[in-house]
């Protein structure tokens, strides 16, 4: 591990050919991925009658910000936004903590029936939420938890994906280091906190990102659990902008989408740097 030093993989010399190929590929990716995204953004600045036209209009003419003001004025946007933040923060925290602890137990601690427990955990990924909602609705309703944050959060807090991902990561760590730490007398929690976590930073960041996105976009369960802006998240609130008979005005819907996606992208920009920082930090400790 000492060879990690200060030099990251990306800093090494590359042939000019590879670099050119890299840029060409990047340009291509940008094109393919960006076009539909661009369409969402462009539509959000269009007047209603300019959305469905032929030939397609790639630059809004005239450009308008009306759609954004429509979003903010026709639905209680700040309240939904607040709920989204609370729900996502609570769920992500719960999932990350539970996921790391479960993965740690399933990878580095020894106990009987470990692989059975692991299979039970990942089997939870095979149960689609369409079949759990009615049963859970009944239960949560009995508890009187509808229209509460805990009613939305707790039923979703069990974590299978993250347990799996982190277990995989922990198992890939060099055994010598773990054994060395154990010999030094590190207890299980200290081992996790001081040795295992610092070396797993990039994966933890990836896990967190994906969890945040999934919780931010959670729709069906919060929709069933909340009846108004007291607890409903943005994804539920935005559907008020859609019309169910004879065509939706997509301008405001797209504006709402842009407003919903932006915070997550900013978070991504911040966290993806952490991914790399984390590596060097881990390497130094290792």
């Amino acid at each position: 591990m000492s060879t990690h030093a200060q030099v990251g993989p990306s800093d090494r010399h590359r042939s000019p050919l590879m670099t050119t190929a890299g840029y060409a590929a990047m340009a291509f990716v940008v094109l393919i991925i960006a076009v539909p995204l661009l369409w969402i953004v462009v539509t959000s600045f269009k007047e209603r009658q300019d959305i469905y036209v032929r030939p397609a209009q790639w630059i809004p003419n005239p450009a308008t910000t009306d759609n954004y003001s429509t979003v903010v004025t026709t639905i209680p946007f700040p309240a939904y936004f607040r709920n989204s933040l609370i729900i996502t923060a609570a769920l992500s925290t719960a999932k990350i903590v539970l996921g790391v602890l479960s993965a740690y137990a399933l990878s580095l601690l020894r106990f009987p029936g470990r692989s059975i427990v692991f299979l039970i955990v990942i089997s939870a990924l095979m149960v689609p939420n369409q079949i759990t909602v009615i049963s859970n609705y009944a239960l949560v309703s009995q508890l009187g938890w509808r229209n509460t944050y805990q009613g939305i959060v707790i039923p979703l807090a069990g974590v299978a994906f993250g347990t799996f991902l982190m277990r995989n990561q922990f198992l890939s760590l060099p055994t010598e280091i773990i054994e060395a730490a154990r010999l030094d007398g590190a207890g299980p929690m200290k081992l996790l906190w001081r040795v295992v976590m610092p070396m797993s930073w990039p994966t933890l960041v990836a896990f967190s990102l994906i969890t945040v996105v999934n919780e931010w976009n959670e729709y069906l369960w919060p929709f069933l659990m909340s009846d108004n802006e007291a607890t409903a998240p943005l994804q539920v609130g935005l559907t008020i902008l859609q019309n169910n008979e004879g065509g939706t005005n997509w301008g405001p819907v797209m504006a709402g989408t842009v407003l919903t996606v932006l915070p997550i992208l900013i978070l991504f920009l911040m966290l993806q740097r952490q991914m790399i920082k984390g590596l060097t930090a881990g390497a130094v400790k290792g």
């Binding site: 229209n147 008020i240 019309n243 008979e245």
Partner: protein, 438 residues
């Protein structure tokens, strides 16, 4: 012994803890000691909870009506809650609520032409006749065709609210260029004669008529075509898609496809509004949007054929599971919601149909219709409407089932065998799901 109750099969521990082994061994305690009744968020006699999907972006209009109601009934408040983005979602949510605690049921729900019946059939909706009578309110002013849509075993299970019908929209300029009279076709045969003329003048990259596809309610619009040929999807509880007349209508649709004068789309209104299609069948609920979106003058007309326009849209219903006190407040509110003044208000805000006969005599409504000739056509067509076929609206999953068959017909499959298969499926559902409960 072989009959389960919902509390049983949903593994609801409640206090008894009779749930499945796993739920018991979860033993999180919190699940077993549920405080069912105390924390209920449901309405009471002084509070009416209304689940709406705000048809036609009508939240604002709904709130206005609620404000007026609260002013007139100081003891009762109405809580308007978001029931989903469409009728299906609202039904899904209500089905969830039925599995939950009765104290938390809403007091009023919006139910569409295809969602109300399964609730009524399973005794989850209160009959409005009795409630109206008990409250001293009358139902005879509702437009007959719209009110009788909710009739089942001699009782009505909803009041008409956001009601729509299909409407014929056409591009006036394209009509003129093709040398057609400034009106809708009287019959589908006439349209078939017009279509080549339209095609000749609009150019090959445009289409004479655009229709919704089978996943977007073609089944609703096609009823008009089927009825025109003397066919139907069903007569009472007998499927009749394989009746020669219905088959003829299917073949007619295929002829239009073969002539390349019709296209099917997920969003027909978009093609029409962009000036790519000369005409379309679309809900009256789309009138407001189409007016705002189109850069050209369009007109509306009755559907082809006389008296062959299906009704549609949604009503408001009251769950059977709430207390009698709550029902009393709820009926008071839904009657107010659909009274003459409010149906006028709601209609003008959305483009839905006035559900009261007296609304047509309302001075404000008259003035509004004079100013909006397209809406006037839609309202006048109300007199020509006919209740939909059971196979589409009452038989569970009917819309999707018929839509699938129509997609197959449009794709060129043999009409007779497609419709025969449809009848068989419809009959299967009637036998399994409806007959035992009638």
């Amino acid at each position: 012994m072989d009959k389960l109750t919902r509390r049983g099969f949903l593994g609801l521990a409640g206090a008894a803890g009779v749930a499945t082994g796993l739920a018991a061994c979860a033993g999180t305690g919190s699940t077993a000691t549920g405080t069912a009744s105390g924390a209920a968020a449901g309405g009471g006699s002084s509070k009416v909870i209304w689940w709406s999907n705000h048809p036609g972006n009508s939240k604002e209009a709904e709130q206005k009506i609620i404000a007026a109601f609260q002013l007139a009934n100081p003891g009762i408040t109405v809580d308007l809650q978001d029931g989903g983005k469409n009728y299906e979602e609202l039904a899904q949510k209500f089905n969830g609520a039925l599995a939950g605690n009765a104290a938390q049921l809403p007091d009023v729900i919006v139910a569409s032409d295809v969602t109300w019946f399964n609730f009524a059939l399973n005794k989850q909706l209160a009959a409005v006749d009795d409630l109206m009578a008990a409250a001293g309110l009358k139902t005879d002013d509702y437009v007959d065709a719209l009110y009788s849509d909710y009739l089942f075993n001699g009782k009505h299970y909803a009041l008409p609210f956001a009601r729509s019908t299909p409407l014929f929209y056409y591009n006036a300029e394209m009509w003129k260029n093709a040398g057609l009279e400034d009106r809708g076709p009287k019959t589908w045969q006439e349209f078939k004669e017009w279509a080549p003329k339209l095609q000749a003048t609009i150019g090959s990259d445009k289409i004479p008529i655009i229709l919704a596809d089978g996943t977007n309610y073609l089944d609703w619009y096609f009823q008009n075509m089927a009825w025109n040929f003397g066919g139907a999807f069903s007569k009472e509880w007998t499927p009749t898609a394989s009746d020669p007349k219905t088959i003829e209508a299917g073949k007619f649709l295929q002829e239009l496809v073969a002539m390349k004068v019709v296209k099917f789309s997920k969003t027909p209104e978009a093609d029409f509004q962009a000036g790519i299609a000369a005409c379309m069948l679309q809900s009256t609920g789309a009138l407001g949007g189409t007016t705002k979106n189109s850069k050209f003058a369009f007109k509306t007309a009755f559907l082809p054929g006389d008296g062959n326009c299906p009704t549609g849209g949604a009503g408001v219903a009251i769950p059977a599971g709430i207390s009698e006190d709550r029902k009393k407040s709820a009926i008071k509110f839904v009657e107010f919601l659909t009274n003459t003044a409010n149906t006028v208000l709601f209609t003008q805000a959305t483009g839905y149909m006035p559900v009261r006969k007296s609304a047509l005599d309302d001075a404000g409504e008259k003035a509004f219709l004079d100013k909006n000739p397209n809406s006037k056509v839609a309202v006048e067509q109300l007199a020509k409407t006919r209740s939909q076929d059971n196979a589409r609206v009452l038989v569970q999953g009917g819309g999707a089932r018929i839509g699938k068959s129509l997609d197959q017909v449009a794709a060129g499959q043999d009409v007779a065998s497609v419709f025969a298969a449809l009848d068989k499926e419809t009959q299967g559902v009637i036998d399994a799901q409806i007959k035992p409960k009638l």
